[in-house]
Amino acid sequence: MLRVRVIPSLLLRDGGLVKGRQFKHHKYVGDPVNAVKIFNEKEVDELVFLDISATSGGQGPNYELLVDIANEAFMPFGYGGGITSCDEIEKLFKIGIEKVILNTSAYSNPDLIRNASRVFGSQSIVASIDVKTSFLGRSEVYVQNGTRGTKINPLDYARKMQDLGAGEILLCSIDREGTGKGYDLNLLKAVSESVDIPVVAAGGAGKLEDMSKAVSEGGVSAVAAGDMFVFHGKHKAVLITYPSYDELKSLF
């Protein structure tokens, strides 16, 4: 097992896999079940699925699809999207999902994250924090797939999530997402220094060095990426790739 987890983070929309840029312009990139099969063969240790249609559409998790994914996946995976109650969380764990990821509902209903971590243990509850930075460099937490600002500072918010019982933070820079420009290292550093729970970097990875920087300079304990594992080359051709174990080992 590697010291640092390197997690492909995949977006679902209406049952298909999509990828976008800065939380917009999503493009269809394939069938999630087939993608999981390919990641299996590539010996990926962990996956994350985020359903961006589950919250906005109001329909909640697509259990049927998640069952298919869980049946196919050799590795543990986390799921986020449209989760609003402990009953739903229980149902997701029963399917075989390892971690549930709360974003909008962690903001609008803090009791959910508190109760869920008490009932299921904080190690299985992840708080997802999406951050947008203004022209003046002020960072703000956004919810609802990055469409709604909360006026809350990410550091305060991350501490609050930790206090509520989240076992891990998935921290994504909306501005960097899908750009390949590298993670927002300042944001990563500031947040990981202000909490004791593990922080997973997301949004912006374009090359392997970005990942080692996220760890050495950003102080995170794991890294997630979408584009890097889904796209190839200047035409952004859809091609699922994952670095070899040796490549990853030499990174950290």
Partner: protein, 378 residues
């Protein structure tokens, strides 16, 4: 069942249109002898002919971003061809069409090849829910060619990108050495969009939105005559041996071998090794092995031995069947039922045959009038 088998290759009367001459050689062998004279040059002549063609492609492509286009499936033929294209100094746009059945091996091989060759890759990912709906419609129709959906999509995308990028040369891995035998009675053309739409209309549920079909007009007129698209099959101009090609791929780019023919698509494997033999009594290995006999790569005895092997390992079959059913959102029982039903001919659904007959008539008239032989496309 007692079948008459060709004395030279291993094709037999499971091809209902097959005929034999006085020494027992089949119509496929005769077609090969005729076609190979004008199409197959695994020798010095081929080298010279190919040299001229390549020069023309490079010249026409000067100043353009790409001079040709190639579809890359991850299979040996197209992968090896891509490698050669690098040696020849071509600058192709490489297109991969993902119809949802890609194996990890295919994805790995494509990655290795484009990285090694430094070629630009473009992918077209078909909307899986639409493809699934179409594939289930095809299973329900019971026609023999279940690869239509992917073959049509691949051709359609490739030509679409070619036109979009102003490219007129399509480089194809098609070749006489490994696929000269093609019994028409087994499969109707995958390019017949009238047939595709008729089958989908009868058995499909979803609207085809992103799935682009190619019309009869586009296929026979627009692409060849208006857009002047030309398909080049370089493997016909050189000695091509699949085993050696594979070895070179493994050596140079770290290519990973597929267990069986068409291992790059689990559906094609299931369709060829289970659906076709069970439902129609067609064994595609005969086609493939016969081609190899004719090109001199293997002996007839060797092919006959190969045919004695079982089509499927029982465990593998069970796994693949479960996978195919699940992916198509059918139960294994439903899938079995569809396969157990008697097969149907494509003519039970609307198709392009009447247009095609008209086209042939027109061609004959034109040939008489102009006194020139008109090249048939594709």
């Amino acid at each position: 069942m007692n079948r008459t088998v060709c004395t030279r290759c291993v094709m037999d009367t499971s091809d209902e249109k097959i005929t034999f001459n006085s020494v027992g050689e089949c119509s496929h062998c005769q077609i090969f002898d005729k076609d190979s004279q004008s199409m197959w040059f695994p020798n010095e002549t081929g080298k010279q002919k190919l040299g001229k063609i390549l020069e023309q492609i490079r010249k026409e492509g000067e100043g353009k971003e790409y001079d040709c286009i190639i579809g890359l499936s991850g299979g040996v033929d197209s992968s090896y061809l891509a490698l050669k294209m690098k040696d020849w100094g071509l600058r192709p746009l490489v297109v991969h069409i993902d119809v949802g059945w890609n194996s990890e091996l295919a994805v790995h091989n494509i990655e290795q090849i484009v990285k090694y060759c430094g070629f630009d890759l473009y992918t077209d990912v078909m909307d899986w829910e639409e493809v699934r709906d179409l594939q289930v419609a095809y299973l329900k129709s019971g026609v023999s060619n279940q690869d239509v959906v992917q073959d049509h999509a691949i051709f359609s995308s490739l030509y679409h990108f070619a036109v979009q990028n102003g490219i007129r040369y399509v480089i194809s891995g098609g070749n006489m050495a490994t696929e000269s035998v093609a019994p028409h009675s087994w499969h109707h053309s995958a390019m017949d969009s009238i047939n595709l739409r008729a089958i989908h209309k009868r058995f499909g549920h979803k609207k085809l939105q992103s799935f682009k079909t190619i019309s009869f007009f586009q296929y026979f007129f627009y692409y060849p005559f208006i857009k002047k698209m030309t398909t080049i099959r370089p493997l016909n101009y050189m000695p091509y041996n699949k085993k050696e090609a594979l070895e070179e791929l493994v050596r140079t780019v770290g290519y990973k071998e597929y267990g069986r023919k068409h291992g790059e698509s689990r559906f094609t494997k299931f369709f060829q090794n289970y659906y076709l033999p069970k439902k129609f009594d067609y064994d595609k290995r005969k086609v493939h092995l016969s081609s190899l006999i004719l090109s001199g790569e293997i002996t007839r005895d060797c092919a006959l031995k190969e045919l004695e092997k079982p089509l499927y390992d029982p465990v593998e079959l069970k796994n693949d069947k479960e996978y195919v059913a699940k992916k198509l959102k059918l139960s294994v029982v439903e899938l079995d039922q569809l396969i157990d039903e008697p097969g149907r001919s494509y003519v039970e659904f609307d198709n392009w045959d009447r247009h095609y007959a008209l086209l042939q008539k027109l061609k004959n008239i034109l040939q008489k009038v102009t006194n020139k032989k008109i090249k048939t496309y594709a």
